[in-house]
């Protein structure tokens, strides 16, 4: 026995009591947020101005939504599905180096899938596996490895889209913005900067190919719109306190749009206000909308991030909207874009595959008469445990 269930049980009861208290409070907060959204539904310029002022004057790191010119409290209907369109999705996975293994190496595995909507033939798969070792992994951290992976996904998509006629839709899982995490070492930051520059090139490549690009965020935790409303709620006098004033903290954007969007509908488009906004300038500026990919009675909200060139091309936006809903409906009761799921499957490196690669590496080294160390005892013990399951 490794858990004191008596202790936990007491705490669980307390948790339940707290949740009960929160529900009523949250409902009141949500009502207020909804009121604010209606109130400012069409105050596009005023809202933008207020937020720009706050950024300039009080909080340079403010992350929130910026309205464009669509009414904020409306749903935008599902456009018809384009007859023929290429859909590309990519995902990646990685093996992090472990000093407990017999030999240290890393692997970035990126998979992409290309499907012609409306065609009967099987989609085309592509996998890029990159083995990293010795110098390549000297300063590698989990964050930088993830960065390499994310960049790899998008580069692969851009390369594929370049080969296709205009109008292809490229999808990745998660937000569009490259992300290093809150804290990072200096080495990491320098790598990040390099990656950002490359990423920009990749995005430009996609735009040049006249392909749309989107990041799909399932079960989004974002609260950019909420943060926007928090700012709007404040009087001019209160604005200096903007960093600390987060009255809607328990709520997310999800809660706001859940009752607003019928199945298939998207929300208004928002631009992302964030410290990195300046980097994604002009055509690359990142925007987002919420999308109800669920079915009647079973709402399911996703957040979709797109760069400006997509927003500016209504046909692209509509195709993306329609294709995402279609892709989610392929999956039935658990909506998620089918091709993104498949890309994930393709890219995924299983434990068994990892073990195989390790064996291949060892065979190669042994074949060359090189000394190979055993796995660490800790790793052996772990393997034992997993083998038993």
């Amino acid at each position: 026995m490794s858990i004191d269930f008596q202790q936990v049980r007491r705490q669980i009861i307390e948790l339940g009591e707290a949740a009960e208290r929160s529900v009523a409070n949250n409902r009141r907060l949500l009502e207020e947020a909804q009121y604010l959204l209606h109130e400012h539904a069409r105050d596009y310029d005023a809202v933008r101005r207020k937020i720009e002022r706050v950024v300039q004057a009080y909080d340079r790191n403010l992350r929130c939504a910026l309205p464009l010119d669509e009414a904020l409290d409306q749903g935008y209907p599902l456009p018809p599905l384009p007859g023929q369109v290429a859909i590309l999705a990519a995902d990646g996975s990685q093996i992090a180096p472990s000093r407990h293994e017999s030999f240290e190496y890393a692997l970035v595995n990126v998979g992409a899938i290309h499907m012609e909507l409306g065609a009967a033939q099987a989609p085309v798969l592509q996998v890029e596996s990159r083995l990293l070792y010795e110098a390549q992994i000297e300063d590698l951290t989990d964050a930088t490895l993830a960065l390499l992976r994310d960049l790899g996904e998008r580069r692969l998509l851009a390369d594929l889209a370049t080969e296709l006629p205009p109008g292809a839709i490229t999808l990745t899982d998660g937000q569009m913005e490259l992300w290093l995490g809150e804290a990072g070492s200096r080495d990491e930051h320098s790598l990040f900067q390099e990656s950002l520059l490359e990423y920009k090139l990749v995005l430009q490549q996609l735009r040049a190919a006249q392909a749309s690009a989107a990041g799909y965020v399932d079960r989004p935790a974002g609260r950019g719109v909420m943060r926007m409303l928090e700012v709007l709620r404040m009087t001019e006098q209160e604005l200096p306190e903007v960093r600390r004033s987060k009255p809607f903290r328990p709520l997310r954007d999800l809660h706001l749009f859940r009752g607003l969007l019928r199945p298939g509908e998207r929300s208004a488009l928002f631009e992302i206000q964030s410290p990195s906004s300046s980097f994604y300038a002009d055509d690359l500026a990142l925007h987002f909308f919420y999308l109800n990919v669920g079915l009647e009675g079973r709402d399911s909200l996703a957040r979709v991030e797109v760069p400006r060139w997509v927003v500016d091309t209504p046909a692209m936006l509509d195709d993306l909207h329609a294709v995402l809903v279609q892709q989610c409906r392929v999956m039935g009761g658990r909506p998620y874009p089918y091709l993104l799921h498949r890309a994930h499957e393709i890219a995924l490196v299983t434990l068994q595959e990892k073990e195989e690669i390790t064996q291949m590496v060892l065979r190669e080294l042994r074949g060359r008469g090189l000394e190979v160390f055993e796995k660490s005892n800790k790793q052996l013990a772990k393997d034992l445990e997993s083998g038993r399951r």
């Binding site: 409306g118 099987a122 392929v330 999956m331 799921h341 393709i346």
Partner: protein
């Protein structure tokens, strides 16, 4: 003639093994077919395919609940998905140093060993060696659809023998089955019922 590869070994014991292959490879292995696993220059294990199982997974199960699945998705799942087809093989014998034996092999094949389909000549040689000793392995297996397996196997093997000018092989095989099973009425009748449906007999 290029050897037809049907998959790689997933797990094994002395009496049987399971190979994995992708749906795209499914064209070649057939129920009842004789397969071989070469384990070295002079050592090769033979077995009969007794089950071909198409595994499901979460995705397939989820897709199956959707009202209409478009052709591209179906094609993707059949051709691209890495979900393996599991081919269960009953070990029927082995060959060591040129000698064919209908005995269980001294050691089983290993993970990821390649499994090949036997060509007619090899089927003929294996099934003609000794006196149907490998029937023991089939008949010992209580959970197998013994009659169906034997019928499928005999039909395939018969083609190899008939092509080699020995059309009487299948009668000898049927005779041997009757001898082996004559004290087990139900199994025997099930086996004969199945044999009665295959080409050399149902004419």
């Amino acid at each position: 003639m290029a050897a037809i590869e049907i998959g790689r070994l997933l797990r094994a014991s002395n009496t049987g093994f399971v190979a994995g292959c992708r749906v795209a490879q499914l064209g070649s292995p057939e129920f009842g077919a004789l397969v071989r696993v070469p384990l070295g220059p002079a050592y090769q294990i033979y077995g009969l395919i007794y089950d071909i199982r198409i595994e499901d997974d979460g995705l397939v199960r989820q897709l199956a609940t959707v009202e209409t699945v478009d052709a591209g998705t179906i094609a993707d799942n059949r051709e691209n998905r890495t979900t393996p087809i599991e081919i269960s093989v009953l070990v029927a014998g082995y060959r060591q140093d040129g000698q064919l034996l209908h005995l269980l092999p001294p050691r089983p094949p290993l993970s990821l060993d390649l499994i090949y389909l036997c060509e007619p000549e090899e089927v003929r040689r294996f099934t003609a060696a000794g006196w149907f000793g490998y029937f023991r392995h089939v008949l010992r297996s209580v959970d197998l659809p013994v009659g169906e397996l034997l019928a499928a196997h005999l039909q395939q093997a018969q083609q190899a023998h008939a092509a080699a000018g020995n059309p009487g092989w299948i009668e000898a095989a049927a005779q041997e089955l009757i001898v082996l099973l004559r004290d087990d009425y139900q199994t025997l009748m099930a086996v004969l019922g199945a044999l009665g449906d295959i080409a050399p007999f149902n004419r």
